[in-house]
């Protein structure tokens, strides 16, 4: 039975989303590159740091955002991991493997690809979202575990 969560935030998610979109727009308009995290990291892992090391610079910027947020707000945002270690390891392997084979993730396909009106990216997004929803259902409501 679906229940809607109480106190659903709208402003913070929208503002955050706009920032994500703005960041993707910036990387595209100035670097001519798609802000797909799995691609950025994946290519670094393959030894391709990008022209003028742009991929490394992007990753460093990403890694600086947490400390900056902490400095500005005095605390990190809420953070809760429910998966146990074995699950995290299996999940990590699947995320790493799947995003490279599928050529993208939520940022690359879900944001950039869809913003670019790519049928490929829309398809990929529908697939990984549907699968993720099924997995969560199985784990939370059908007693399935690793």
């Amino acid at each position: 039975m679906t229940t809607l969560a109480a106190n659903i935030q709208v402003t913070a998610p929208l503002v955050g989303g706009v920032l994500i979109g703005a960041a993707a727009a910036t990387l595209l308009l100035f670097n001519g590159q798609v802000a797909g995290i799995s691609g950025v990291v994946g290519r670094i892992v393959e030894g391709d740091f990008g022209q003028k090391f742009w991929r490394v610079a992007f990753l460093i910027g990403l890694l600086l955002s947490g400390p900056a947020y902490l400095y500005w707000n005095g605390a990190l945002p809420p953070f809760e991991i429910s998966a146990d270690l074995p699950t995290l390891i299996v999940a990590g392997l699947l995320v790493g493997f799947g995003t490279r084979v599928g050529s993208g993730c939520t940022s690359g396909h879900g944001v950039c690809g869809i913003a670019n009106f790519s049928p490929r990216s829309l398809t990929a997004t529908v697939v990984f979202m549907a699968v993720a929803i099924v997995v969560v259902f199985l784990v939370r409501h059908a007693g399935v575990s690793l």
């Binding site: 590159q33 490394v56 992007f58």
Partner: protein, 140 residues
């Protein structure tokens, strides 16, 4: 100059993830848990992000060059392949199991929770495996 814009883009991207709550696996899982207590927050994040990015992509599609006059590389309109579908499905399983996708995981590396490091190491390992696998498949 390239590096500076990329650094800023990565930083703003991360701040966006943090502000939107997307660095919290619990929030992501709450969005994916449509049979439970559903929190649609992620939808607002994606809508906000996509709408904001659309004009930039339209511009680059028509102009073909960046604002600095350099070539822009948009992915080619290639067909939907088994790889796309299989890879997306596998990614979806991992995402559903953990509530983590690449971006938020890297941002969360600085939160001081060792479990994130273990997850990210597994992601990198998975990427290496994918690289090896795809190389083998493409050389057959």
């Amino acid at each position: 100059m390239n590096a500076v814009f990329a650094l800023v883009a990565g930083f703003v991207f991360g701040v966006g993830l943090l502000i939107s709550g997307m660095t919290n696996p619990a929030k992501i899982l709450a969005f994916l848990d449509i049979a439970g207590v559903w929190n649609p927050s992620l939808m607002f994040v994606m809508v906000g992000a996509i709408l904001t990015a659309i004009p930039a992509f339209a511009y680059i599609r028509s102009r073909g060059k960046t604002l600095l006059g350099a070539p822009a590389s948009l992915p080619a309109r290639s067909p939907i392949t088994p790889r796309l579908l299989a890879g997306s499905a596998l990614f979806g399983i991992g995402w559903g199991l953990s509530g983590f996708c690449p971006g938020p995981a890297f941002v969360a590396l600085t939160f001081g929770d060792q479990r994130v490091w273990i997850f990210v190491l597994a992601v990198v390992a998975g990427m290496v495996l994918a690289h090896i696998t795809l190389k083998r498949l493409d050389s057959i």
